[in-house]
């Protein structure tokens, strides 16, 4: 301690312009801490909750020609205010096989992509976490590097690899192998999703793996655990938080993915993102599209909540 304060002398009053503001806010019950929290809350309200409410409102209207292309929820007739809610869009979602199939197909494609991403990403994250300090930074940089170019460009570049006379088929042709049909198939969609979302899997896996104490692996080996046993009993359970976080970051956006299936997928690749696009822009049916969007949100929110619960359970341990 260089300066000591005599406790009997009160500290000098600091008169700063914001002190008046602070006192004023304090009178209405707003503290500095609340002010800080209000900023993100306002942001979420204006750019997430309000638009969501608008979309939800549109989903309860019906399609009509004109501007806007949907019916108003509130109308006044003979001096009475009438609220008209149409549930037909939601009923249609459940009765028309197209929508149910699209949801199921999206979940399936997202789930399979997540598993492949995990299988590809885990060894990479493990290798990066165990690399020497110098290599670790270089490897992490390489994982992040694709983000420096446009996502759209990278997906287009994939078509250059996979199309009929693309790089892969030309290479196979050197060995006299018939060209493979890769574009406009589910295979291409998987390649696209795994390629695009791999960094989102690797980074959270890396952060959990790099924190694991090496002496835990040594202790397992010391007690007779062969490398595979050590991996299954020690490494895997302790990296569960990273697996959950990475899977969430891949699975959730993959469900609603639109660009990859429309650029790489074929006509039979059914994903909810494409259905949504078609309803909005091809069929110009805003209320139906809004209902599809709301239902998609529900489909995505449920796994988020389940995974968050699982993750907090793991963390508590």
């Amino acid at each position: 301690m260089t300066a000591t304060h005599d406790p009997t002398i009160p500290p000098p009053r600091r008169l700063k312009p914001w002190n008046a503001v602070e006192r004023g806010l304090a009178k209405v019950g707003i503290s500095g801490r609340m002010l800080v929290l209000i900023a993100p809350a306002l942001w979420l309200l204006i750019f997430f909750l309000v638009p969501l409410a608008v979309v939800f409102g549109i989903s309860l209207a019906t399609k009509q020609f004109g501007r806007p292309p949907y019916s108003a929820l509130l109308s006044t007739e003979d001096g009475t205010v009438q609220l008209t809610l149409h549930l037909s869009n939601y009923i249609r979602l459940f009765t028309d096989n197209l929508y149910v199939a699209a949801y199921l197909s999206s979940i399936r494609i997202a789930a399979i992509s997540t598993i492949i991403t995990l299988l590809v990403g885990y060894p990479m994250a493990y290798a990066i976490a165990r690399a020497s300090d110098r290599w670790r930074n270089i490897l992490l940089m390489l994982v992040i590097l694709p983000f420096f170019t446009s996502f759209l460009l990278r997906v287009y570049a994939l078509t250059g690899f996979m199309r009929g006379n693309g790089v892969i088929n030309q290479f196979l042709g050197l060995f006299g192998i018939e060209p493979l049909v890769m574009m406009q198939t589910d295979f291409a969609v998987y390649v696209g999703i795994v390629y695009t979302y791999l960094p989102f899997m690797i980074l959270p896996l890396y952060t959990t793996l790099v924190k694991l104490d090496v002496s835990l692996f040594e202790a397992s080996a010391d007690l007779g655990g062969r490398p595979l046993r050590t991996f299954l009993s020690i490494t895997l359970p302790l990296s569960l938080p990273g697996i959950i976080a990475g899977s969430m970051l891949v699975f959730i956006p993959a469900i609603g993915e639109f660009v990859i299936p429309s650029l790489l997928g074929g006509p039979e690749t059914l994903m909810i993102g494409r259905v949504l696009w078609d309803e909005f822009f091809t069929a110009a049916n805003w209320p139906r599209a809004a209902a599809v969007a709301v239902a998609m949100l529900v489909v995505v929110v449920v796994p988020i909540m389940l995974m968050q619960r699982a993750q907090s359970a793991v963390v508590e341990k």
Partner: protein, 384 residues
């Protein structure tokens, strides 16, 4: 806390009778390099069954690297390691009859205490009932019967230390390696745990190799100590050998505190040696023969408690072993007081005196002129 002498009949100190005893652990010319850094340099060491051997050294002395090579986590660059007559140099850690207690304990955080202890037993595919019995036995050995279902983070530091010990002992290893086993405990708990550790080691008869930087810990625990310095073994011996008969200036300074002076040999007889020391301001008469030559420059080290202080000049034979100085500092430690005496040459000598008289009013005090004296065999003559 080291083993009581009556328990140590001659045959339980096999290192004193190497002709009739086969070493249990043989480290032969082991060298370990990390890149260009020489961590362990040409170490050879024999350790016998049921020993509690301490590797003592500062950080970077190579003691932990040597332990990790015994566990199999590091491969020697050259040399061999034999355990119980078998060459273990290239055997993987999971195939060695050796277990280790880690400095950080390395308890598996996602497993309960019981699961931690059972981990090694499960790897041996023992039947479930047998594992449960063994776990219960170990929990009572370390007095944690009621804590089996807890997780490591719900335990105190001392309890974690005992779980780590139980886990390391679970497979009845022939050899247990302990890396700073008491390092993370506070002083009080460390002293209690030292007792328990020795008791457990004696009752199980397992060979322990303990790595520590704490010389007090090494002195209390060990049957023998290997002092390490810069990747090499500086001295191997029983605690009393290491303290009373250091073989080098490094060991004399590293263990305990020592006064060290330079001197020249003036008489070199089979029965005695006389050393002239300008630093000390007197001759040193050593009552035994020393391997040296006349006019050789060497060092003489003496422990503070091996010297006596007096106001009057005491009589000494041979006109040697007494010098005078002024008391400069006194450190009162309760049981003893350490006096720092400045000699004429400017050299400062530390002398400790037992405070045997309660509140002694006649105690030697600051700025007094005092005589320091010692007996013929009190110091060690060191040539390296």
């Amino acid at each position: 806390m080291a083993k009581k002498p009556q328990q140590l009949a001659i045959d339980t100190r096999p290192w004193r009778d190497t002709a009739n005893h086969r070493p249990f652990v043989r480290i032969k010319n082991v060298t370990k390099k990390f890149g260009d850094v020489l961590a362990v340099h040409d170490v050879s060491l024999d350790i016998y069954r049921s020993e509690l051997f301490c590797l003592l050294g500062g950080s970077g002395s190579g003691k932990s690297t040597l332990l990790r090579m015994l566990a199999g986590f590091e491969q020697p660059t050259s040399g061999t390691i034999e355990i119980d007559g078998q060459d273990m140099t290239d055997v993987a850690p999971y195939n060695r009859p050796v277990n280790m207690m880690f400095q950080s304990y390395a308890l598996f955080p996602h497993m309960s205490v019981e699961q931690n202890i059972a981990y090694g037993l499960k790897r041996d595919h023992l039947p479930k009932g047998e594992i449960a019995d063994r776990v219960a036995e170990l929990l009572s050995l370390v007095k944690l019967q009621d804590y089996g279902r807890r997780r490591p983070h719900q335990l105190s530091g001392g309890q974690r230390q005992r779980v780590a010990l139980a886990r390391a002992l679970a497979k009845r290893p022939k050899l247990l390696l302990l890396d700073e086993p008491l390092g993370a405990l506070d002083k009080k708990l460390r002293e209690e745990t030292q007792f328990e550790l020795v008791k457990i080691q004696e009752s199980l008869g397992v060979t322990f190799i303990v790595v520590t930087h704490d010389q007090e810990e090494a002195m209390t625990l060990a049957t023998r100590i290997g002092v390490m310095n810069q990747g090499e073994i500086a001295m191997i011996g029983e605690p009393t050998d290491i303290y009373e008969f250091p073989n080098s200036r490094f060991v004399a300074n590293f263990i305990g505190s020592a006064n060290m002076v330079e001197g020249t040999v003036t008489e070199d007889e089979p029965g005695h040696v006389r050393i002239r020391s300008a630093e000390l301001g007197c001759d040193i008469y050593v009552g035994h023969g020393v391997d040296c030559a006349p006019d050789q420059l060497l060092w003489w080290a003496i422990r503070p408690e091996k010297m006596a202080l007096s106001r009057e000049k005491p009589f000494t034979a041979h006109d040697a072993n007494v010098t005078a100085g002024i008391v400069e500092e006194i450190a009162y430690l309760g049981d003893i007081s350490v006096y720092q005496v400045a000699l004429e040459s400017g050299k400062r000598i530390r002398v400790s005196q037992t405070n045997s008289v309660r509140g002694n009013p006649d105690a030697i005090t600051w700025d007094e002129k005092v005589y320091i004296t010692w007996s013929d065999n009190a110091g060690s003559v060191l040539t390296v």
